[in-house]
């Protein structure tokens, strides 16, 4: 998504300050030298001392628009930004959005949520579960060719064999 074009001596440090991951295919060029801009890309030219502001800008670029999902729990209806969900799961024909400490009953079908969050790095891991990649703490291969995902709230979610390939592609493995 990004390409960083700065002095070689400072490249590593600036990259770290921007919390940046570069890729071969990119839409954005980040540089401290206006002579290095690329005309067919979106160029962000910044001063060396403005990396903090640029990092915030990049967060906005990456995260995009906030998408809120509405659900209910014992305290009533809640609207929660999608990145806060650990996963969405179907139980007894009901769909629940699982957060760190609580879960919301969502009045949507799972495939509807999947479409809603298609650009939000959620991945289907089984017929009944949609997982937020950003909330996975650890991936543990099981002996039965499945994957066991440990989420940041310590819940375990299994990646079904049928969804394994898609999951690995999502991680670019």
């Amino acid at each position: 998504m990004f390409k960083l074009k700065v002095d070689a001596n400072e490249h590593k440090m600036i990259k770290s300050e921007l919390n940046l991951i570069e890729s071969k295919k990119y839409d954005y060029v980040l540089t401290t030298n206006k002579n290095l801009v690329e005309e067919d890309k979106i160029n962000i030219v910044f001063r060396r001392n403005e990396t903090t502001k640029v990092a915030r800008l990049l967060d906005l670029v990456v995260h995009g628009e906030d998408v809120f999902v509405v659900g209910t729990n014992e305290f009533g209806q809640k609207s929660v930004e999608s990145r806060n969900f650990m996963y969405f799961i179907v139980e007894n024909d009901d769909v629940y959005g699982v957060l760190h400490k609580t879960r919301l009953l969502i009045r949507m079908k799972l495939y509807e949520i999947e479409e809603l969050l298609i650009n939000k790095d959620f991945i289907r891991v089984s017929k009944y579960c949609l997982v937020n990649i950003g909330k996975i703490d650890y991936i543990k291969p099981a002996l039965n060719s499945k994957l066991d995902l440990l989420l940041s709230n310590q819940d375990h979610i299994e990646v079904n064999r049928a969804y394994l390939k898609d999951f690995k592609e999502a991680l670019k493995i």
Partner: protein, 728 residues
Amino acid sequence: MLFLLNNPVVAVVFLISVGFSVVMIKKIVDEIKLNQGLKIKQQAMRVNQVGKGLVKRVSALGAGALAPVAVFAVALVIGLNVTPDTTNTDIIDIQSSADIMTIFEEFNDKFETNYYRGGWFGDLEVMNDSLDMAPTSDAESLNVDQGSDDHSEVNNQVDGVDEMDNVITDGLYIFSIYGNEVQVSKAWTQALGSDALELLHTFTYDNNWGCDQSNFYPMGLYEDEDRLIVVGSETTYTCPDYEDNEYPEGEEPMMDYWWGYYEYHQKTKVLVYSKSDFTLEDEYALRGNFIGTRKIGDNLYVVTSQYIPFYNEDVEVENYLPYYEQNEDKTTVAYEDIVYIEGTSPNSFTSFYQVDLDSGDIDMEVVLGDGGYNLYVSNNNMYLVGNIYYFWPASDILAVEEPVYEQKTAIMRVSLFNADNEPALEFDGIGYVDGYIENQFSMDEYNGNLRVTTTVGWWGDVVNYLWVLDENLKIVGQVGGRDLPEEKTLGLPGERIRSTRFNGDYAYVVTFLQTDPFYVINLQDPENPFIEGDLKITGFSEHLQILDDDHILGIGFEADEITGQTIGLKFNIYDVSDKSNPVEAFDNPAVFLYEEYGYGWTSAIWNHKDLLVNLDKGILSMPFSTYGWNETDDYWTYNSGILLFDLSLEDGIGDHEFIVHEENARFDCNVYKSLFIEDQFYTVSNKYIKVAPIDDPTNFTNSITLREFQYQTDPNGNPEVDTDIIED
């Protein structure tokens, strides 16, 4: 690989372990890849979630994956390369025959192949009754006369520790053994000198072969101020089927000693004669095969081994218990006095006896274990060398074809003194070294340390060691070993240790394959011994005799420099005054090439007591034998005699004389010992004792006949040997 093929259960366990490890490693690789992918993805998402416990998790998984293989490898290493802890020797006290049976069963379970069954003769049974020695004598009462203190001594390894010999002198008498006879000859008196030479006394012992018969063969003699001590082996044969009358009346079953149709039973006997009248004063019978003996002062030490057919489930232990008889009084060892050293093959009762020749008291220590093969005795301890087996801990659980074990050399120590420093035998521990111990000269006790040379391997892959063991018989120092630079190895590639001699802070070691590296090893620091110097010459020494601190006499062979084949006998002197640069002291060692002298040999090469060395008299002598062809009578002759050299540290090994008792003798006159009293040189054969002045040794001044032989002729009239002995 061969080990796995021979052990299918172990092989399966091994394959399972490897398979498990492979699966686990694949899982780990997948896991790492997945989580690395996750990490990159989340960084691109600009979230920081991952990485928690990845290293810890992978470490644990890695350990788990390799654990089975590691456990397997550790088990094998422990099982196959056991390093004995000499500080924690498993000495098992025995209380009853049941304990011994348990030891048999446990050992047999581990050692499924009964590879050693105690020799050629099969099972033994207990001998119930002592048979009379029935020595016959033609002696009259002996004249007491005055001899000389200037006489040759037995060539003992350790000063103060006497070794028995087949011919000895006390300056007045010569005592000699041949066959089943011990003879006493007066040799030298103050009044008559060597003119006093006469045969005084012949003890002839039972030599009966057949069912329920026994024979006694004297093996060695000791003498001291008052006593002549004869040590010998008595064998009794029993024929179990004889009494069953399975043979036709009047026919006795043929004895076949070589193929073991008959049972035999052995005792080691000690006969103590008074030197005043040569009457038998005391008789001791010590059960078991003779292993070795020494004498220190009035105490005689004997080691015997009583074989037990432990693989036989019906064996009755009490039939094999060691006992001793003192003038017919029989004492059997108590079970409580027997110890077992775990790991040793429980095939024998090895008995250590101390006989106080003054009081007649006998002390006894009995060890259940492998019979020993080399005995070394210092002034403080007895050391007996045997084998010990270390089994793979699971070898008795898995039904493998061959037991998994490692054989080591065990050195058993029995103290000659108790805690109150009184003469008494006490089992005092055991030490372990790798390799084979060549002979008694391979061991030496000095300042509380035991020094030992060993050779591991027989052909090709041979490694030589010198070990230093501390007072707990734990290895503290070492010279030689595998994978060392050449200057630190003991012997060139493929060479075995052929002879060793220790002298205080130094050891001298000869190895050989093609040439003779003679090593000088510095032992001043027992924990850091090192090779201080070496010398490479042709040939090799089989025995090293200390002449003084700077000179070592080598007795051995000359060898072809290219092929290593022995081409003659060689006697030389090493000058070790410069320990870092040992040299041959003289340019011309005494060499008897076969191509010049015919094939010849000397028993001094393997029996140091046949070697007579005296620098004061300036002599070096030893038996020497060659074959020759008698042109006149057209038959082979056997030229046996004594080779007598001039010897001095100034001129080395000088001219020699060859002293024979019969010119062109047939195979009947074996000259086997030389002695001196004052300036007279005595040579002893099976037929004669002859004496001549040392400076003119072939000019006999006196001679006595000990016995004569009668010969038969073959159909062509040629002489043939007949071993019948005609009493003198």
